[in-house]
């Protein structure tokens, strides 16, 4: 390719200048050394409304006098010294007062970035070139972005505070002053609906003169909101509106207000209002942000209400439980007192009866031995009957005292071998009884109090010996078996005089021990047997399985057995049928 000729170069330069003149998307102006306009491109004509003819040969400072007023002439003067300058939007807004391309921005002038540079000819400055760029749109976008950023920050700040606080209604005052300020509102009002009556009342307000606050107490402008109270209502130009309901707003100097329903979980909790004294209009854009804040507030208030209800319910429940507990304690204490009084009473009676009864018995003996010859036979029979009754009374008193002792004495459990216990008690009995007892060895060890266990066996053996068919010889077998630990519910309860119904604290057992296996001790006889309907009754005091006069007894023996086993943390019962003998069992912890 050959070098372009001077002519070609000149033609290309011309073409470039022509393009700049016609199509460049910037304002391009050239000035001579006295700042008179030499060229003025199409963009400048379009945006200034001045044609080249209007401006040619005229000083730029005469065409735009505000350049001097705003002290913007120095970059031009310095350009003549060879300096280039950049004038930024942020520091100057604009260089030449051109019309704003976007009316809705509210800007009067187009925002500009300008460059001012010297033009050279033969190494000397011969003029100035001015390039103007329209940055209104860029700045508008940046501003929108910045506002969005501020609003996002405000929203997350408000959200964080409302989420964090336990009492959003208290926090509201502090929060909403800042929110209102940030959103360019002068006033806020928060109305909350009474949960029962549904009536709105002012809960918090800011930016209302104190003396006017009473005018806002019951939301005077509610009716103006008409059917729209579920959503967002904007009332613009308040001062020019005729509705009498707006009187309070007018008096407070409010010019526009936005009202949003506070709705959470489909419940309308109240209203949030933001108002301004300076702006005639509130835009839809603003209402969106305000709506978000209203949602946060509604959620927070709803949470507070729910929390309060939950808290109240819990407290009521706890009060009730406490009351019940108190009543149970009180009744248990009364019951224990009564039981204790009764036990003391029966002990006293039994104890005090012993001496007079023994006296009666003794004097009967004296009568029978020393005066038998002088007593008529009828009298002797009567005295014998008195003597028998006294003996019976004496043994009753004795047994009652035993029962009291079992109930009152302190219990200490220890491993007990059963065989020696039975052998000892057998040794004290007549040979016929001794021989009647068969032990199925080996017997398992149990945890018990030895003397108490001996008493239990004594009573059972004595019963077995006593309740036999006339003329029959007693036969008693003792055996043990291991009962794996089962829950009390799975046991057959019909025959059990169960200790589990009593306070286990009575017995000195540690928790590990309660998990151990039990030993069931069987004491079987071949006596007269017990009817099933009285199986449970016989373990009570003064209860007897037989009413026959043929069998003597106080009816306390089995009650002592039951109480003793219960106090040692065990259970007892009987398996029996009339005429087929009885099998008593005792269940105690294995040792």
């Amino acid at each position: 390719m050959s070098e372009p000729s001077d002519n070609q170069r000149s033609q290309r330069r011309e073409a470039l200048l022509s393009w700049i003149q016609q199509f460049a998307p910037y304002g391009v102006i050239t000035l001579d050394e006295s700042f008179q306009v030499q060229s003025w491109n199409h963009w400048m004509q379009l945006h200034s409304g001045l044609t080249f003819e209007d401006v040619t040969g005229k000083s730029l400072f005469a065409l735009f006098p505000d350049l001097q007023e705003r002290r913007l002439t120095s970059p031009f003067a310095r350009a003549l010294q060879g300096e280039s300058s950049v004038l930024s939007t942020a520091l100057h807004r604009y260089l030449l007062p051109l019309r704003s391309p976007f009316r809705e921005t509210g800007l009067v002038h187009m925002l500009q970035t300008a460059r001012i540079a010297p033009l050279f000819s033969d190494g000397k400055v011969c003029g100035i070139v001015l390039v103007i760029e329209d940055v209104t749109q860029r700045e508008k976008q940046a501003e929108t972005l910045a506002r969005q950023h501020r609003h996002d920050e405000l929203l997350s700040w408000a959200l964080a505070h409302l989420l964090k606080t336990e009492q959003p209604r208290k926090a509201v005052r502090q929060l909403f002053f800042k929110i209102a300020e940030q959103l360019d509102f002068d006033t806020f009002l928060i109305y909350l609906r009474h949960p029962k009556t549904g009536i709105l009342s002012l809960d918090a307000a800011g930016g209302i003169p104190v003396e006017l606050e009473k005018d806002f107490a019951d939301c005077p402008f509610l009716r103006v909101l008409s059917q729209e109270s579920e959503g967002v209502t904007i009332i613009n130009s308040v001062q020019n509106r005729p509705e009498p309901e707006l009187r309070a707003l007018k008096q407070a100097g409010i010019t526009a207000v936005v009202v949003i329903a506070l709705v959470a979980n489909e419940r309308n909790l109240g209203l949030l209002c933001f108002a301004t004294w300076t702006r005639e209009f509130i835009t839809e854009d603003e209402s969106e942000l305000v709506n978000n804040i209203a949602q946060f507030l509604a959620t927070a208030i709803d949470r507070e209400v729910t929390n309060n209800q939950l808290h109240d319910a819990k407290e009521q429940l706890s009060d009730h439980a406490h009351l019940l507990e108190e009543r149970v304690k009180e009744r248990t204490a009364r019951l224990q007192e009564t039981v204790s009084e009764l036990e003391t009473f029966s002990y006293t009676i039994a104890h005090d009866l012993k001496a007079p009864v023994r006296g009666m018995s003794g004097f009967c003996d004296v009568l029978l031995e020393d005066f038998s010859e002088v007593l008529p036979p009828e009298a002797t029979a009567i005295v014998k009957r008195i003597a028998r009754a006294s003996k019976r009374m004496e043994s009753l008193a004795h047994d009652l005292l035993e029962f009291s002792k079992v109930s009152r004495q302190e219990i200490v459990l220890a491993p007990v071998e059963i065989e020696p216990v039975i052998e000892e008690l057998a040794a004290l009995r007549p040979p016929a009884v001794r021989d009647a007892i068969t032990i199925h060895t080996p017997l398992l060890r149990v945890r018990a109090q030895r003397d108490l266990l001996q008493q239990v066996f004594s009573n059972l053996v004595d019963n077995a010996v006593k309740f036999i068919r006339p003329g029959a010889a007693p036969r008693i077998t003792v055996s043990t078996e291991l009962v794996p630990q089962t829950s009390p519910n799975t046991r057959s309860r019909a025959l059990i005089f169960s200790s589990t119904e009593f306070e286990s604290g009575e017995v000195a057992t540690s928790p590990e021990e309660t998990n151990q296996n039990s030993v069931r001790i069987w004491i079987a006889d071949q006596g007269i047997g017990i009817a099933p309907e009285v199986h449970q009754k016989i373990f009570g005091v003064f209860e007897r399985g037989v009413s026959s006069e043929a069998y003597e007894g106080t009816g306390i023996g089995l009650a002592i057995v039951a109480r003793a086993i219960q106090r040692m943390g065990g259970t007892c019962g009987v398996v029996s049928e009339v005429g087929k003998g009885s099998r008593f069992w005792l269940e105690l912890q294995a040792a």
Binding site: R71, T89, A90
Partner: protein
């Protein structure tokens, strides 16, 4: 080429004259009192400045670059690290704090660089009684290495760099940057010679 103590003093004084003009222009523009200080001036061979600058500026920098020509010619660059550029923009414009240097912020930095460079080079021109011409300033945001490697090292002449540590003081804040002026040895010698004459005139 090492500067003697008195040469350094004279150069610092000359730059301060230029900076006074720039500070006045910036104060006028923003309505805040702005002062510009020169804690240090140094001259280095072009090969040394990369290492020198990398030790004081790290990460991305905003650089405003203007080429000047005439009896003295070279390249003048204002270097501000990213945080300094953001802070300077905020202090000058009262715009809300933006984490990025947006279009408007870049222009502000360009204009500040332009004012500073023009003032400084204008002071040189006045001293030499010559007209120095400038290109329109260009702003770049990139690493120090890239800024320095994009500087054209012109011709066969040995080149020097004047590094002027610059501190903006306004609204009880400080912003620090570096003004780097790259000159050929002839231009530097001319400058030093004129500087000496000026100093002698001043002393008389």
């Amino acid at each position: 080429m090492e500067l003697t103590g008195s040469q350094k003093d004279a150069l610092t004084e000359l730059i301060n004259i230029g900076y006074a003009r720039a500070a006045a222009a910036l104060s006028d523009l923003t309505g805040h009192r702005i002062s510009l200080q020169v804690p240090e001036v140094a001259v280095h061979q072009i090969g040394e400045i990369k290492q020198k600058l990398q030790s004081v500026i790290v990460g991305e920098v905003a650089s405003v670059n203007q080429i000047f020509s005439g009896p003295i010619s070279g390249n003048a660059i204002l270097l501000l690290d990213r945080e300094a550029a953001i802070l300077l923009n905020r202090l000058l414009t009262d715009r809300p704090d933006m984490p990025e240097l947006d279009g408007a912020a870049r222009e502000v930095i360009t204009e500040v660089g332009n004012i500073l460079l023009n003032a400084c080079l204008g002071a040189f021109g006045n001293l030499l009684k010559v007209q120095v011409t400038f290109t329109v300033p260009q702003l770049q945001i990139e690493t120090v290495q890239r800024v320095l490697s994009s500087i054209k090292v012109g011709g066969s002449e040995l080149e020097y760099a004047l590094i002027i540590h610059t501190r903006f003081q306004m609204r009880s804040s400080n912003v620090s940057g570096y003004l780097v002026i790259i000159l050929g040895v002839t231009s530097l010698e001319t400058l030093m010679r004129e500087l000496k004459k000026w100093e002698e005139r001043e002393l008389r």
